[in-house]
Amino acid sequence: MTNPLTAPRGAPIIAVSNLVKQFGRFAALRGVTAEFDSGKFHLILGDNGAGKTTLLRALAGLTAPTRGEISILGKNPHEASQEIGYMAHPSLLYDEMSGMENLRYFARLYDIAGYSRCEQVIRAVGLDPELSRPVGKYSQGMRQRMSLARAILHDPRILLLDEPFSNVDVHSAREMVGLLKGMCDAGKTIFVVTHQAALLEGVADEFVWMQAGQIVDRTNGLARGPLPSGDVRAVEP
């Protein structure tokens, strides 16, 4: 594998090897092995329970694999945390504080001095930094945008976004897609888990199809041929 720290766009930035994650007797990931290129927009698709969220959480360092290895920029997810931005299905924000107050707190966690960066990212997601309303009183769309602002606050090279468009109206979702496309064009590596794949057709570089805890196909578009038989291997717990 090319050294990801010096690798040009398109070289692997994340490598997972034989990744297994079990919750009790249930295996959420069953031996996932893959490399993901830098500067690309990866869309992860699959039915409920396919292992998409578990894979994203493992890449973010929130779930320790039962077996296997994850290498992000040549490091483990915890060591690479400065380079990872993570947005989950819940907002990961304090409802009782305003968006700006939330971001000021999270900025301190990343050693970001001053508040100009907070204002910058709030404006970047189309919100007003002066908004004093607590996040708990935001609309769902505003909350999703603020959640994205938190994820990009420290200017990470890799963005892991879990259902960023859920409960967001089509217009706002398209705006968010445009923002993500711009970030990808600027060299960020983006992973999006969503059930609204049509929104990202023509934007995503790669469609990663998951089923039963495995990556079963990787395509350049939403069209996908029938699954070859025997493609999904069972892994003994």
């Binding site: 993570y86 301190r108 966690l109 990343y110």
Partner: protein, 225 residues
């Protein structure tokens, strides 16, 4: 190191701001302690001399139970919207979070003690016969003993199904040496019959040992699933 203290203070300030806005823990603790004091007053009607012997126990039992209410609240707000995950994915040290939470709880419980102590003095007609200043180290060290373990065990029981039951089950047995030190130290100071130095040293040792252990183990607790 600068970053560690900066994150600790930022987290502490954030927690105080959230508590100031909701007052969830403070209100619950105040009402709970007030109820305990009133129930004790109706249950016992001691003479001034008897009061000095039992109030040490009553005070600390009331504060111990009230502290559990605050300790549960501390982490509950980190579970809403899974905000704790935002901390876990950041490069911020786990110990900074633990220390901020413990300091926040220490401030809350100390505030409660400052508000409730005059009530105990009035209801039990207390007059300190020993060196009264020693009540300050006993209170400070005793409160830290409660909150440092309480913060740790509250984090441990965070993902359990019945965490409000788990916390006292884990915390109370471990706190027995500290409770002994607080109660005996307070009683000795109130009665003036024996010196309280031994219990102050006991509390100090307990605090050093358990603070070190909690700081050493907290990262494992934070990253547990």
């Amino acid at each position: 190191m600068k970053s560690f203290w900066s994150i600790t203070l930022a987290t502490l300030a954030k927690d105080i701001r959230l508590e100031w806005r909701s007052k969830d823990a403070l209100n619950a603790m105040l009402f709970f302690s007030l109820l305990v004091v009133v129930i004790f007053v109706f249950s016992f009607d001691p003479l001034a001399e008897e009061s000095r012997h039992i109030v040490g126990g009553l005070v600390w039992v009331a504060f111990l139970f009230a502290a559990v209410v605050a300790l549960n609240q501390t982490w509950a707000r980190e579970l809403r919207n899974q905000v704790l995950d935002a901390y876990r994915v950041s490069p911020a040290p786990a110990n900074a979070l633990f220390l901020a939470k413990a300091l926040g709880n220490f401030i809350l419980v100390s505030l409660l003690e400052a508000l409730m102590a005059p009530l105990f003095v009035i209801f039990y007609n207390l007059r300190v016969l020993g060196p009264a200043w020693q009540l300050i180290p006993v209170a400070l060290l005793g409160t830290w003993a409660l909150v440092v373990n309480g913060t740790f065990f509250a984090a441990m029981s965070l993902r359990t199904r019945s965490r409000e039951l788990m916390l006292p089950l884990l915390l109370f047995p471990v706190s027995i040496p500290a409770v002994l030190g607080m109660v005996a130290g307070t009683t000795n100071i109130l009665t003036g019959e024996n010196p309280a130095h031994f219990y102050i040293v006991l509390l100090l040792t307990y605090d050093v040992v358990f603070t070190t252990a909690c700081l050493a183990l907290f990262e494992t607790v934070l990253q547990a699933e």
